[in-house]
């Protein structure tokens, strides 16, 4: 291979990014993999090869339960964010006619994304609590006599918070692909007698698939890697893999945390690998 001047310039320009990613992405992952084979006492970690972390992890029924819970959260959040995100993107892309209005409404949706996740989570508490707005409204309407206990600190509140935090990650890529659909195709479908619904199913959805896939990757990985939303919104009563890791970290059991992290990483990569079979991200950018 001939190394041209252009190649060298390209390498130099890409160098800072490469250095950051090597130092703070690749090296940490390698470290985690190595440490996952180490042993630990209560006070320190011992660099000696052992499989005990993995043996413990795979031997414990808790692990399987927690992974199952993680998949459950990921699936439910995905289904909800997709339904809501697709509808919102569809509305913005096909029903709003002026571009200024489109941009304005789009910005309106993205602003909350730029404020703190933690604050947005806390915000649900006065809303869903025992004496929160939701319960009081339902009682005053006469729908229920007793405050509902499952609104806060439950699977319901966890998924609600996930949907609240991550729907935008679905809206943006779907909206982006929808905006690139040639409007003539829609007209052609209509001229050929397709109903609105048929156009949606046979034209828009297939053409929006790449956006849906990118949104799906975002939402699934964010939910599977989460450890704070579940802790917060379940009042520490539910667990997912992220919490398993963060609990080990809190107990300074780094090797065990690392082993769980490796298994989580592999799971996430397998999920992404499957999704990437349906879309070529590089072509979509």
């Amino acid at each position: 291979m001939k190394v041209t001047r252009e190649t060298v310039t390209g390498w130099l320009q890409a160098a800072p990014l490469t250095v950051v990613l090597l130092g703070f992405l690749v090296a940490p992952i390698i470290t985690i993999v190595i440490v996952s084979f180490w042993q630990a006492t209560e006070f320190s970690i011992i660099p000696a090869f052992s499989l005990e972390n993995y043996e413990f992890l795979f031997g414990s029924p808790v692990t399987y339960k927690v992974f199952a819970a993680t998949f459950k959260y990921a699936f439910l959040t995905w289904a909800m964010t997709l339904a809501i995100g697709f509808t919102v993107a569809y509305y913005l892309a096909f029903h709003i006619r002026s571009q200024t209005m489109q941009i304005a409404l789009f910005l309106l949706c993205t602003i909350p994304f730029w404020t703190s996740n933690i604050i947005r989570m806390i915000s649900w508490i006065p809303f869903l609590g025992r004496n929160g707005i939701a319960n009081q409204t339902l009682i005053s309407w006469g729908v229920i006599d007793q405050p509902l206990e499952w609104l806060l600190y439950s699977d319901f509140s966890v998924i609600l918070a996930f949907v609240h935090l991550y729907t935008l990650f679905m809206v943006v890529p779907i909206f982006n692909t929808m905006m690139r659909i040639d409007r003539n195709l829609l007209e052609a479908a209509r001229d050929n007698g397709a109903s609105g619904f048929q156009t949606l199913v046979h034209v828009i959805i297939p053409l929006t698939k790449p956006g849906i896939m990118i949104g799906t990757i975002f939402v699934l990985t964010l939910v599977m890697g989460d450890f704070i939303t579940v802790r917060f919104m379940s009042g520490s009563q539910r667990a997912n893999v992220g919490r398993l890791i963060s609990n080990d970290i809190a107990l300074l059991q780094y090797p065990s945390a690392a082993a769980t992290a490796v298994v989580l990483l592999c799971t996430v990569l397998i999920v992404i690998g499957i999704l990437l079979r349906f879309v070529n991200i590089r072509k979509e950018l």
Binding site: M1, E6, G10, W11, L12, Q13, A14, A15, P16, L17, V20, L21, G23, F24, L25, V26, A27, P28, I29, T31, I32, I84, T87, Y91, L92, H95, L108, C109, P112, W114, T115, S116, N117, I119, I122, S123, I125, P126, G129, G132, I133, H164, G196, F218, T221, M224, G225, D226, F227, I228, G242, I245, S246, Y254, A257, A258, A261, L264, R282, L285
Partner: protein, 278 residues
Amino acid sequence: MEKRPRSFYVLSVFFALFVLFLYGPTITIGILSFQGPEGGLTFPMRGVSLNWFHELFQQQAVGDIWGAFRRSFMLGLMVMVTTVVVSVMAGLAFRKKFPGSGVLFYLTIASLVIPSILISLGVGLIFNQLGLKVHWATSGFGSQLTWTLPFGLLIMFAVFNRFDKSFEEAARDQGASAWQTIRFVVLPIIAPSLIGVALFGFTLSYDEFARTLLTAGSYNTLPLEIFGMTTNVTTPVVYALGTLTTAFSLLIIGAFLLSAWVMARRRARLGSDAGKGV
């Protein structure tokens, strides 16, 4: 104009509900932060007061939130500048097909989708093993870049996809060197999009939690401080802080949007002199 179909009205209501869903909780704590001095964490409001905002300024009530705010602000600026510079350079690199570009691309995507806690844990372990102290300005800074740089690069891809190469060719034909072409032609054209990259860089860093958790060391950033408060503060002072930081985030977004608007206007005023002769 064509008559709106009925689905338009249904979807408009859906969209309005979605926006309410997005903003509702934030508005709720906005209201509750003005809770009277006797009031608690939930409704009803017992009077209206600025009591809880006042409490924020008393050191003993809330710990070191102002120090945390200063650190987060500094870190946000550091991350912002680095993200802009590194993303632009990488964006320029990706316009040519250089060997290794595929690997680098997938690494960047990996950086975006990897669970944040892995970065936090891994960087923490490295510093630990090397006998270094974790600090927000070193390990925290690097960890946050793994989150902001992919966003920056994706924006640069979008920018360069729409970039008209003939401007550069014109500059080259007029005898501009490679550096001059970038400095006087490419950068001014992409400048407005860089505001977007800067906005992402700053706000993603300012609100970042998971990647900073184990890498900030003994001095907390603001999100970490807020997180600490939520576990041991049981008064509306948490809401007051939440309201204040949200207001600050909105202020920052406003400032960026304003500068983008000013830049667009300036551009429209100065305009292009193409075809007007010299």
